[in-house]
Symmetry: D2
Subunit: 339 residues, 4 copies
Amino acid sequence: MIVKLKRNANQTDVTHLKEHLRNQGFELHESIGTSYSIFGVVGDTASFDMRSLYAYECVESVVRVQEPFKKVNRKFTQEDTIIDVNGVRIGGDNIVVMAGPCSVESKEQVDIIAKAVKEAGAKILRGGAFKPRTSPYSYQGMGVEGLQILKEAGDKYGMPIISELMSTENIDDFLQYVDIIQVGARNMQNFHLLKELGKLDKPILLKRGFSNTIEEWLMSAEYIMAGGNNNVILCERGIRTFEPYTRNTLDISTIPVVKKLSHLPVIIDPSHAAGKWDYVESLSLASIAAGADGLIIEVHHDPEHAMSDGAQSLKPKKFEELMTKAETVSSAVGKTLER
Amino acid sequence: MIVKLKRNANQTDVTHLKEHLRNQGFELHESIGTSYSIFGVVGDTASFDMRSLYAYECVESVVRVQEPFKKVNRKFTQEDTIIDVNGVRIGGDNIVVMAGPCSVESKEQVDIIAKAVKEAGAKILRGGAFKPRTSPYSYQGMGVEGLQILKEAGDKYGMPIISELMSTENIDDFLQYVDIIQVGARNMQNFHLLKELGKLDKPILLKRGFSNTIEEWLMSAEYIMAGGNNNVILCERGIRTFEPYTRNTLDISTIPVVKKLSHLPVIIDPSHAAGKWDYVESLSLASIAAGADGLIIEVHHDPEHAMSDGAQSLKPKKFEELMTKAETVSSAVGKTLER
Amino acid sequence: MIVKLKRNANQTDVTHLKEHLRNQGFELHESIGTSYSIFGVVGDTASFDMRSLYAYECVESVVRVQEPFKKVNRKFTQEDTIIDVNGVRIGGDNIVVMAGPCSVESKEQVDIIAKAVKEAGAKILRGGAFKPRTSPYSYQGMGVEGLQILKEAGDKYGMPIISELMSTENIDDFLQYVDIIQVGARNMQNFHLLKELGKLDKPILLKRGFSNTIEEWLMSAEYIMAGGNNNVILCERGIRTFEPYTRNTLDISTIPVVKKLSHLPVIIDPSHAAGKWDYVESLSLASIAAGADGLIIEVHHDPEHAMSDGAQSLKPKKFEELMTKAETVSSAVGKTLER
Amino acid sequence: MIVKLKRNANQTDVTHLKEHLRNQGFELHESIGTSYSIFGVVGDTASFDMRSLYAYECVESVVRVQEPFKKVNRKFTQEDTIIDVNGVRIGGDNIVVMAGPCSVESKEQVDIIAKAVKEAGAKILRGGAFKPRTSPYSYQGMGVEGLQILKEAGDKYGMPIISELMSTENIDDFLQYVDIIQVGARNMQNFHLLKELGKLDKPILLKRGFSNTIEEWLMSAEYIMAGGNNNVILCERGIRTFEPYTRNTLDISTIPVVKKLSHLPVIIDPSHAAGKWDYVESLSLASIAAGADGLIIEVHHDPEHAMSDGAQSLKPKKFEELMTKAETVSSAVGKTLER
C-alpha cells in the first residue's frame, strides 16, 4: 500500500498517521521527492481498509499494490482448481456445458428438455425454481417442487443439477436436491448469504454481479472460501454498459484476466449476456476460444410459451448445432468437450 | 406495448403471436406501413413480461409505452406521500436530515455523535450495526448490540433511528429497536428480503443499487408496496460510472425524474456518493436546490479512527456549518429545514 | 510514480528497467517488503507515459501519484482564474448565464430569443451555426451566415456571443464573429483542433466529452494552455451511463472536484444533460448551489418547430422564472447573479 | 416511429402535432386504449429527428421502430461487402490480419517489424505517424515522414498499409502513401472529417468510439457512405466501462450484432481493448470464433523502448505463435487465414 501526503501536510497529523499504521503492525518506507512525499506501507495490507486513511487530512491518495484476496489468489495456489461434481470435472482441459430451461415449469417440460440437452452433450442440468424477477407481478418460480422435478430428471438422465438459491431459508432443500448451488448476479454481494454458503461443502457457482468489478467478484468468492468452502466456480454473465443492442455486455476479457489472477474455474453464461438467442452461438464459441472452462446455456423446446427468458433460449435443434461447433472449437484450442 | 414485426415474417408465426396476446386479454391495433408492420397492444401490460415476445421469430422489437410500476406511480396517486416517523415528517415542504456514524462502535461514540448532530439540527439518527463489507476480513459490525446502543441514544436525544437490515433473520430485532429500516444498495434486488418487508408497516428507506436504473429502483419499491407496506422512502446514493475521482457518481437528476414519476419522498446520501468528506457539503446543497426531501449524512467525531468510512465522514463542526448553509438554501427554494 | 515488481522478477529485466528510468532523469527509491518490491520514481513524471513500463516483464503495476496536468493545476496557480469577455467576468463570485437557441435558424428567430434572454438576465448569447449531428440526414446548421446573424444580435443587445467550432478551417470566421469559441463534447479529444486553439488568445469553452474522465478533460484543457492560450472555461454537460430516463447523467460532483484540482471556471450545461426541458430548472439550481460559475441554457420561443433540440429548450417565460430562482439560490450561497 | 400522448393531453396541442407530422409527409395510424393513446407514424422516418417531438407538451414518449441508417443497413444490401485492398480481400470467408508497431519510430524499426509480421502471415502493415495522445507532453508521431517510411516497407514486403488520419489537412498525404485510412476512436464523431472521407474512394477503417453505441457507430459509417464512399470497414476496439483490470472492455457481442444489422466487414483490435499484451491472444482467438473478419494487432520487437503502447505490443515470436493458433481456430469455424 502506498500513501501519498499532501504538500504542506500538517506534521502532527503526519505523526498520528504513522503511529496509526505502525499500530496495525505495518512497516513504513518513506520516499521524499522535491514536490511530494510518499510512504510504502509493508505488511499484510490485504485485509486493511485502505480508504479509511483518507480520514487523515494530510493524506492525498492511497493506492493498493497488493490484491485484497488471498484464498482465491493464484499467487498462493498455483495449480488450477478442478471441481468434481458427481464425476463431472469442472476446470482443467475439459469443457463442461450446463444446459436447461430458465424456469422449471412442469415435470413434462423438464423431462423433454433434459433428454434433449443430454443427447446433445450437456453434462449438467440447469433450471430455476426460485426466480429473481424485477417485477413483483412476474412469475416467481415453482419453489421446492421445482427442485424435486429437477432432481428427478437429473437422476433419470444421469446429470448433476444446478439451481439458483435466493435465501438462506432454503439451504436445506438445496442440500437435498441440488448438486451445484448458484448465486445469482443480484446476490453476488449478499454477504449474509455468502457467509452461510461458506459453511457448506457443496459446489457454489458464483455469478458476477452485472455491475461488479472483477476484484469485487473475487472478494465475494473469498467470502465463501474464507468460510471453508473451496468449491467455488466463477460465472461471467455480462455487465451493464451504455450499449442497448444486447441485454448485457459479455465481458470476454474476464476469461484471461481471471485465469491470471485466480486458480478457480470460469464458466460463461452467453444467454443472459446476449438476451437474444441468435447471439448465443457466437458468444459461446468465443468463450471457449478465449479459454473458458465451460458454458451455461438456456434451452427450451417451446420458448414462445416459456414462463421466463424465452427470448434468449435456444431450441434443442439449435443447441445441438451449437454443441457440434463447440466441440470443434474446443479441439482447436487443445481442450476436450466430451459428448 | 408496441410490437414490431420483421419484414417477411412467417404468417403462421404471426398468427400464433396474435393468439398468444389475445389469450392474455389484450386488444390489438395494427398499423401496417409500406416497409414494416406494427401492433399496438392495449390492456394491463404493466405486469406482462415484454421480453418474452422475442421468443417469436416474427418479432423484431418490443417497446413498452406504459410504466411497469403501479402503486409507486404518480399517475395513480397524485399527491406527495408524507411519511410520519414518530412525529418527524418526511416529504412535503420540509427538509429532513438524518445523520450519525457509519458504524456503531460503542455507547460512548454514539452518544457523542448523537448529541452533536441533534444540536446541529438533524432529526433522525443513523448508524450501522450490520455492515455490508466487500472483504470478509473487514469489520462486520456490532450486530444486535449496536441496535440497542442506537435505540438508547435515540431515546435520550429524542431522535427516531435508522439502520441497515441485511437479512430477514434479523427482522424481529429491527422491529424492536429501529424506526426506519434501511435496505442497502447491494440488497436493492434481494427480492426475498423486499417481500418480507412488504409485510411490515415500518417505514423502509430503499437505497438505489449502484448500477440499477430508476425503473428497477421503482420496481423494487413496488415489491414492498405490493406486499402492503406503503411507507417507502427512496434514497439515491450515487451510481457506478467510469469516473474514478469520486467513489460513485451522484445522479442528481433522479430528483426531478423521480418526483415526476412517483409520489414517494426522495432522500440523498452525499457521503457514499462522494466517498470523501470534502465534497459532501457541495453535493448536499445541490440536492436541496434540486428538490430532494432530505439528506442522510455520515458524521464522526474521530474519523481517523472510525471502523468504517472515516474518509467520507464529516466532523461535527463541519456538519454544523453545512446545516447552516443547508437551512439557507432550503429557504431559497421555498422549503423549511427546522433545526 | 510507483512501480511494483512481480514476485520472482528476472533480475536482468529489473536492471534494464532501472537504467531506463534513470535515463529519463528520474531518481529511484526502493521499498522491499517480504512479499513484494516497489520503487518510488521521483522527478517530473507528469509528462512521462506511465503505461509504457508495462512492456517490461518484471513490472506488475504502475501507479501515478502526481497529476499529469500542470498549467491547469491548482497546485501551481492557487487563485481562481477569472476570464473577462468584453466586460462579462466568468469565475469568482458572480454567476454568469449564457442562453440562446440550439441552432441559429434565421435573423428573426435569433432576434426574438436574444431580446428575451437579455431581458431575463442572460449575459452571453449562445447559438449553433455548425451542428454536430449523429445522422448525416439531420439539419447541419447555417454555417458562417449563422455566425453573422449571431454577431448582429449580440451587437444589438450588448451580449458577447458563443458558438461551436467543428473544424480548424473555420477559425478565421470564428475570430471575426465570435467572443467565446466552444469545443463540443465530441471534439474534446480532437487534439489537432485543440493545438490550433492553443495558438489563439480568444476564450475557449471546453465541453467534457460524454465519456471522458475528469483527468482527460483537464488534459485537453492542458493542450490549449500548453499552446499559450490561458483563457479556458470548462463545461460539464452530462456523461454517458446506463440510465435511460435522462439523455445524459449530469455529473454534479465535477463541480467540487474540479474546483479542488484546478483554478479554471466551471460552467454547467443542464439542457444537454437532461435532454428534456422540464428537468432543466432543477439541475440549474443544483449547479449553482454546488458551486458552479455559471450556466449555458437552450432557449427557444417556438421549440415545437426548432431545427434541433426543441425537446430540451425552455420557452422564454419559463427561462425568466428560472432566472428569478437562480438569483435567489445564488445569494443563498454567497454569489451574485446580476440581471 | 411511435408517439405516445400524455393522459389529459391538450387537444389543440395534439392537433398541432398531427399537422406537423403530416407536413413532413408522414401517415398517422392511431391506437386509442382506455388509459393512453398512441400514433404509429409511417413513412421515411429514418432521417427524422425523433427527439424533436418532445417539444410538444402533449407528447409523453417517442420510440423509433426503424433503424436510422440506410446504406449501411443489411435490410437494403443483403450480401456481405468485400473490400479489395490491392488484392487483399477483407470480408467473406477469409480472415485478414493487420499488424505492425503502434508508432512509426524509424526506418529500421519499421523494416524489422514489417519483415517479422509478413513472415508470420499478416497481410496488411499498420503503423501510426500522427498519434492522438491524451497528454500534450507525450510523443506526437513522425508525421508525413512516418507515412513515407511505412509506404517504403509496404512496397518492399508486398503489404498494403493502414495508418490513422487525424485532420483533413493531411488527406493528400494519405491518398499518396496509405492504402486504408484509419479513423480513430476519438474522431468517430468528427463529422467534418467523416464528410471529407465520404468524397474519397479509398477504404476507410472506422474505429468505434470507446463510448459510442453500435447505432452511433453505424451512423458514422453512414456519413461516409452517404458521401459516396462505400469502402467502409468497421473496427471494434473496446468500450469504456467501470472495470479497471483491462484498459477497455472488448465488446465481443458487436460481432454477431453488427453482422446482423449491416453488410460491412468487422475487424477487432484486441491490443487497444486489452491494454496489456498478455490478454491479446485470448481476445484474438475469441474474435475469430465469434465471426470477425480479421484482426489489427500491435507488434514491436523492442516494446520496452517503444515510443507508445509498448505495454500492449506483442513481440514477433509471440505474434507468430498467435498466428498459428488463429489459423487453427479460423478453420474450426469454417474460415481461412492464409499465411
